[in-house]
């Protein structure tokens, strides 16, 4: 039986949930691609990414190719937290159906 109070409050926010979901689909995402896919403003996206980074969920890589590019990826802690979050959501849905 899951303790539903363990639902991760950092991930359980619409914007951050979107970011975590996209980061779970590929090894890394550039800032511009995340912005385009989620249709967020730069400010919103930066704020959410900073929160996720400060909590150790997201790793940031800055490199210069043709121009400076920042890319983001899930850390192992972030990936595990996201999987746990999904598991708890599924448990909630199951509990609601019973």
């Amino acid at each position: 039986m899951f303790d539903f109070d363990k639902l991760d409050k950092i991930i359980h926010e619409k914007g951050r949930l979107g970011i975590m979901t996209l980061l779970a689909t590929r090894p890394s995402w550039s800032f511009q691609d995340l912005k385009a896919e989620l249709e967020m403003s730069d400010g919103n996206l930066i704020t959410h990414l900073r929160t996720l980074h400060d909590n150790g969920y997201v790793a940031v890589t800055k490199e210069i190719r043709d121009r400076p590019q920042t890319s983001y990826s899930l850390t192992s802690k972030g990936r595990k937290s996201f999987q746990d979050y999904l598991t708890i959501l599924e448990q909630i849905v199951k509990a609601g159906r019973q």
Partner: protein, 217 residues
């Protein structure tokens, strides 16, 4: 604790975002445009006999059969080259490997029908080749349907139906009266790709985020 409805809604959002992020477009709009242009150029050169004159300089070729294969093979090579350059540029822009998981999945799906198309392209005469090519190309596009955008599925069905109609008209003898193999190629590989490119060409639409202010940017 969120309600069951809220949890379901979150799971739905996650699923839809994941599906959207893993969509792979096997034929991009610029590639389709390149394919359409190649088909048009090849058929124009052929109609003006320029291509045939060039091929006649190769004494070992049998022009009536081989010229069809060679000119459309060149069109394919041109289109594939454009496609490879576009994929390489996009991979560099994203910082992804050239052979991404999406591309790998597309290759696996495309390979069986494309292999059949290549074999039929080599063994069939010019009358039958275009309809087989259209059928197998259509099947190849439809094989990517579970991770491709809807436009690719429509393109696949268009080729498949055109190929089957072409084949039936060959069987009942009306094909040569209505169409030549080259016209069929221009109509399908040229025309369909032009329409696809026009419908899917990326357009820059200004996105207005509700509640976003200039200070957010």
């Amino acid at each position: 604790m969120p309600s069951s409805t809220e949890a379901e809604e979150n799971l739905r959002v996650i699923r839809s975002l994941m599906e959207k992020a893993t969509i792979y477009r096997a034929v991009s709009a610029p590639t389709a445009l390149a394919g359409g242009v190649a088909a048009l150029v090849v058929s124009t050169l052929w109609m003006q006999n320029l291509f045939l004159k060039w091929l006649e300089s190769f004494k070992w070729l049998e022009p009536s059969v081989d010229s069809f294969r060679i000119r459309w093979f060149l069109a394919l090579i041109f289109t594939l080259a454009v496609n490879s350059l576009l994929i390489l540029r996009e991979a560099r822009r994203r910082g992804d490997p050239l052979i991404s998981p999406g591309m790998r999945a597309a290759m696996v799906a495309l390979l069986p029908p494309m292999l059949c198309g290549a074999v039929f392209f080599l063994i069939m005469g010019p009358v039958h080749t275009p309809v087989y090519l259209a059928v197998f190309y259509g099947l190849a596009l439809l094989a990517t349907g579970h991770f491709a955008p809807r436009s690719i599925v429509w393109l696949g069905w268009s080729f498949l139906i055109a190929g089957l109609v072409g084949y039936l008209s060959i069987v009942d003898g009306s094909f040569s009266a209505m169409c030549t193999p080259d016209r069929f190629m221009v109509l399908t590989f040229g025309g369909f790709h032009f329409v696809y490119a026009a419908c899917t060409w990326p357009r820059k639409i200004p996105v207005v985020v509700p509640g976003a202010t200039r200070s957010d940017v």
